[in-house]
Amino acid sequence: MAEAAVLPGTAVPRRWWSPHSGPALLAAAPLLFLLVFFLYPVFRLMLLSVEGGTTAHFEKALTDGLYVAVLLRTLEIAAYVTVLCLVLGYPFAYFLATATPFWATIGFVFLLLPFWTSILVRTYAWMVILGRNGIINRFLLDTGLVSDPIPMLNNLAGVLVGMVHVLLPYAVFPLYSAIRRVDPGLLLAAEGLGASGWQVFRRVFFPLTLPGVLAGSSLVFILSAGFFITPALLGGGRVIMVAVLIEKQVRELLNWGFAAALSIVLLGAVLFVYFLLRRLMRSELEWS
């Protein structure tokens, strides 16, 4: 009893490691990784953005019509891409989750194909398909359905096609795992309680996959907000996203302070949208 009371100044020496510190150490590794490779660079970025004790970079980023317009455009495009990825990814994820292993494997290969192809090859492939002289336009022209080629590349449509192609897996994987987690018994129950096929989907199946929808859309949104090479190549130069401007400041104009300010504004905007989304869906996700 008396031994348990440690007198001030006579602290029991503690080893830095004990058998109980295992889990803490396990968590320490990724934390350290994040600290060194993410938080520290972000901190440096912040310092850089207010270099020389001036907020001029931020003022410019937040008031100059060009940067504000491009920022809004970036978020808008990210939103389009997110919605498209969800709309296309949901049925695809459903297919993967319910198909036989053979078809599921084939589906996964197709899904991951863009990861194994370089951006230039992908861009070229889309040119072959969607270009003025691409397969689709050739067909439409030859059959006389149109008299002039439909512009499907080098505009917003091209950018969306290219970005959705690359980002689809980021939507599909969380959706796939959410769909796999849905208890089929609940669907039978809903049906047994009087729900039609559509009602089963809308009231039970879909709400149960919402965590996957949130995870997938967050990933896609965050990634697309930072996209840079695809919009440049498939947008024909007309579609300008913030990352393109940041890249120009970093690589060409060497104005790193302003680039940092732009990056932080983009980061802030994306985080804002992300938390807004989370908040809007909070009541829907309380159960999970």
Partner: protein, 350 residues
Amino acid sequence: MRPGILKAAFAVTALLGSSLVFAQNEPPKPDKIVINDSGGDMQATMRKVFYSEFEKRYGIRVVNTSPVDLGKLRAMVQSGNVEWTVTEIGGEDAQRAEESGLLEKLDLSIIDLSKFPKHLQNRQYVFPKSVYSTVMGYRTDVFPEGKRPKSWADFWDVERFPGPRTMRNAPYDNLEFALLADGVPPEKLYPLDVDRAFRKLDQIKKHVTVWWTTGAQSAQLLVDKEAVLGTAWNGRYYSAIKQGAPIAIEWNGGSIKESAFAIPKGAKDAYWGQKFLALATDAKLQGLYADIIGYPGLNLEAINYTDPKVAPYLPTHPDNLSKQYWVDIAWWNKNAAAMNERWQRWMLQN
């Protein structure tokens, strides 16, 4: 031991000794040096002509990296972790790199510029590796003999020369092209009348279906007929033409500039970087390089080693050179940031 052999041994020892004396003047040979270039065909040709020759001559391996990236160069120099021994620098960036103190001084006792044009012989930091030009190119099946565009005014003339165009997604060259199209004489281009240039660009904007980003894209767009009229670096058109694409180059109003190489400040084995640049002055190698890729070197004797059939495709060919204008790098260096911003702003307008 026979006297003959003794004599030979003596000679060998003397030779070894002299090379030993020589070797004491130079830093030890590293195992490899790293040269950063813009990759693709350019890298393949650099390897075929210069890198392999360097390896053969000095027994030092050349490792190549790409792409050319001014931002990365600055990051390397600032962090003191310079991984490149030599790097290519884009024409527009060279002066900025020099002024930002990112470059090692050229050792002109090693690099012999005496065969180069006079105005280049006192270069301090930037090695004038070769010359390239942003030129007009067009499909010869769409614009056959007699109906070919001959000037930037023609490029702008969508009535006589209809069809989708492609231009680089940057203000560089395009402002000059617009002014030339608007009737400004080449010698009065600089300082650029920016407002006038953008007004002229407004006219062509909706006819440019693709604003290209990468060099590979520029020529491919013509090959695929995504565009029938465009701008590109001359070597890009040259290689497409070599592969049989129905494309012709119009040199009139071409935007000629040098493509530079330099040694980053604080580069390891900088001495061997100087040695490499010295090798790059070789007229014979420069001639060979131009034959393959269409970018001539600046050694005036190189033309003697260039295939006469290739010469018309080079921006330095006398017929071509007279039609082009030299880009004012100083003007661009001063105005690049503002012009880029204005360019993006202009792009956003509809």
